[in-house]
Amino acid sequence: MTSTATAPPSSDARPDGPSTSPTPRQPKRIAFGHRLTKWDLKLSPYLYISPFFILFIVIGLFPIAYTAVISFMDWDLVRNTGTFIGFDQYVYVLGQPKFWIALRNTFSIFLLSSVPQLLLAIFIAAMLDQNIRAKTFWRMGVLLPYVMAPVAVALIFSNMFGDKYGLVNTLLGNVGIPPVPWHSDAFASHIAIATMVNFRWTGYNTLILLAAMQAIPRDYYEAAAIDGAGKFRQFTAITVPSLRPTLIFVIITSTIGGLQIFDEPRMYDQYGTGGADSQWLTITLYLYDIGWGQWNFGRAAALAWILFLIILAIGVINLLVTQRVVRDEGRRDAGTRREQRRAAASARRSLAARTEATAEPEPGPAPTDTTIDTPEVPR
């Protein structure tokens, strides 16, 4: 039945095909091939991207979820067992004065390192952007501290910031300034640790900002120079505004890095537990001590999740600020999606209002100037 319906046209259509009488299997084979092609089209893209996601599930998602499970337990690492205790670990961590001190320290060190670091990086990048001799030498020079391992940096700086026989206090003493208690005063210790971070990361940020600066069309500067703008005015009116998207990237990465700061405070003294009065105890240092010092993985997991939520919250704040302040590089003249939608909606509204208003006297086509009237995207 089926063969009579399908076989003749196929043999007719393809005279150079198999001359033998078509078997009923042939269409099946084609159908299977078709199905394969169909699967190929639909599934292949997912298969091609799957290695990343499988890897992400195994080494990213699974540990995160497992951490969440453990954070609700009193976990015994060695015996691999735990008893479910609800939110007790979270309550305990949030009730610890040490946690809040650690949070304070983390933000303090973060601000002390990020703000001067960015200002300095912009300045150095602007200098490197000028026409100077031996460009590559200077550019590699600023990156040199970044090549050093953080632990090595921390070791050297910790020695320099020794309370009694450290280099810094000796130098201060030579100019008549009393020694700074680097390891007992909280603020002094934050400055010392922030110095290590700045030493290592300023050059890195400088290079990123320098790359962004070089992407600014030189025509802008020429035009500004013709208009009589000096170097400083050019810098504030052209360079800085053009750097905004890059700055947001740099700020986000340094936020993530700053909130997870570990190596420097850990190596700051011989114990690595954040000081006798928790002067430079950071969140990750506290987390490490609970996990690997006290083997209390349930509590450490709870703290890890709290840290995750803090970073998430700050990430969201960052995102909101970004949307408000900075436009995407790719659409220099368009607003953000939301602004575009809003603009489109208000345009539609005003169009509707006009057509309605003009509908009674003259039901003709809407005036052409409505399209021009659509509100400009706020810059």
């Binding site: 026989y165 208690p181 537990t273 006798a276 002067q279």
Partner: protein, 424 residues
């Protein structure tokens, strides 16, 4: 064509499978050879330097031709600790694993996962060394290796400048007594020179608290008694009263403390046997360091290690035999000669290699004999439960807060009390 290709593939698969079978057959045969005389490989995991040289291990292999011993050295005790607890009770630990007394209390919570030391070798060690590694059920789980009996290291040149005796026997006589006596001499020294007598309150307190039998926890119930223990509070006050004038306020192992070893920032320091190497290594060229055969308030021990045999290892019997051999007095003497690890075996104390040992750096002090005497003077095995090190760590920080002037004595004590109450 197709068929032949498939057969080829099949043949290849079959071949691979048979090789795999052979391989797994070999592996299972290996595992079953525990009691038989088949060749086996034993792994020993240590850290720092236990003095187990290749030559020493070769001796064992010569005596036991069927055994190959491989040593894995971790760089620090902390690395070893992290590795130990991540793998204990699971797979991956060495057949013989070294542990340090600092984390022995944590290991004791899992004593059921370790093989018991046979009763017939228990007499080998000092009593307090055995007691510390015996759990509530009376099972001894650690083969003692070395200990850290404490004496007093002092700078004879600084003592001379203060008009104090410089000869090590006279210094021993001078300091003979309790802690009050030690601080009395310190007050005298400080009054005469205006300089610090000891390095830090923390290091000195460590020597004091290691003489208290039940400092922070009740040995029977394991409950935390630290904050109500009058003995602890007395020591806290005693050491801080003295440190106000007599301490150099240099926390142990800090960069400043290391600098103080050579620049004479302090005149004395409590000194376990292994500290001699730290001093001579970090204060090269300083000629004044000497060591006195005395310790305030009797004997004291700081540090030391054990070997353990995980109970789920592949060759438990053979591993026990090896641990037994390594911790026998003869081998421990060799380890002492190799790395200066002071033996915990009583029989070793009469050995000429130990008693005759002289340290050139410390003005040719007979340190072998001195520390043998110091080891015999130790008469307390302090109880260290689950939270001992957390509480002691908080105490060290409390002392540091007073020393660096962040808090006064009472405020720091109060903070310590609240921290201890949050533990658990």
């Amino acid at each position: 064509m197709k068929l032949s290709r498939r057969t080829k593939a099949l043949a290849a698969v079959a071949g691979a499978a048979s090789i795999a079978l052979l391989a797994s057959g070999c592996a299972s045969g290996d595992a079953g050879a525990d009691s038989a005389d088949g060749p086996i490989e034993l792994t020993v995991a240590t850290f720092n330097d236990f003095g187990y040289t290749d030559e020493l291990l070769q001796e064992y292999m010569d005596e036991n031709p069927n055994v190959t011993v491989v040593q894995n050295k971790a760089a620090t005790s902390n690395d070893a600790r992290a590795n130990y607890f991540q793998k204990l009770g699971k797979k991956g630990l060495a057949d013989v694993e070294a542990i340090e007394v600092d984390w022995l209390p944590e290991v004791m919570q899992y004593s059921d996962l370790l093989a018991e030391v046979p009763a017939d070798v228990k007499d080998r060690w000092l009593d307090w060394k055995v007691d510390a590694a015996t759990d509530a059920d009376g099972r001894l789980i650690g083969y003692g290796t070395d200990i850290g009996p404490e004496g007093v290291c002092y700078r004879s040149d600084l003592f001379a400048a203060a008009g104090l005796p410089t000869d090590r026997e006279e210094v021993a006589k001078l300091l003979e007594g309790d802690w009050a006596k030690y601080f009395e001499v310190g007050a005298d020294y400080t009054a005469k020179t205006g300089k610090a007598f000891f390095d830090s309150a923390g290091g000195t307190y460590q020597g004091m608290i290691n003489q208290v039998e039940a400092a922070y926890e009740d040995p029977d119930s394991g409950d935390i008694i630290a904050t109500d223990n009058a003995e602890v509070e007395d020591l806290y006050n005693q050491v801080l009263d003295a440190s106000a004038t007599q301490s150099a306020h240099l926390g142990q192992w800090s960069d400043d403390w290391f600098a103080g070893l050579s620049n004479g920032a302090y005149a004395t320091m409590l000194c376990p046997g292994w500290m001699l190497g730290v001093i001579s290594g970090n204060a090269e060229g300083v000629t004044g360091w000497d060591v006195a055969n005395v310790f305030p308030n009797g004997g004291g021990n700081w540090g030391g290690s054990y070997l353990t045999v995980p109970a789920n290892g592949a060759h438990v019997k053979e591993a026990q035999k090896l641990a037994d051999w390594l911790t026998a007095p003869e081998q421990q003497i060799k380890a002492f000669v190799n790395a200066g690890t002071f033996p915990s075996q009583t029989e070793a104390y009469s050995d000429e290699a130990l008693t005759g040992y002289v340290n050139e750096y410390f003005n040719n002090a007979p340190v072998g004999q001195i520390f043998t005497d110091r080891a015999k003077a130790v008469d307390v095995a302090p109880f260290k439960g689950e939270f001992y090190f957390q509480i002691n760590d908080a105490m060290q920080k409390a002392l540091t807060r007073v020393e660096d002037g962040t808090q006064d004595k009472q405020a720091s004590w109060d903070q310590w009390v609240s921290e201890v109450q949050a533990i658990g």
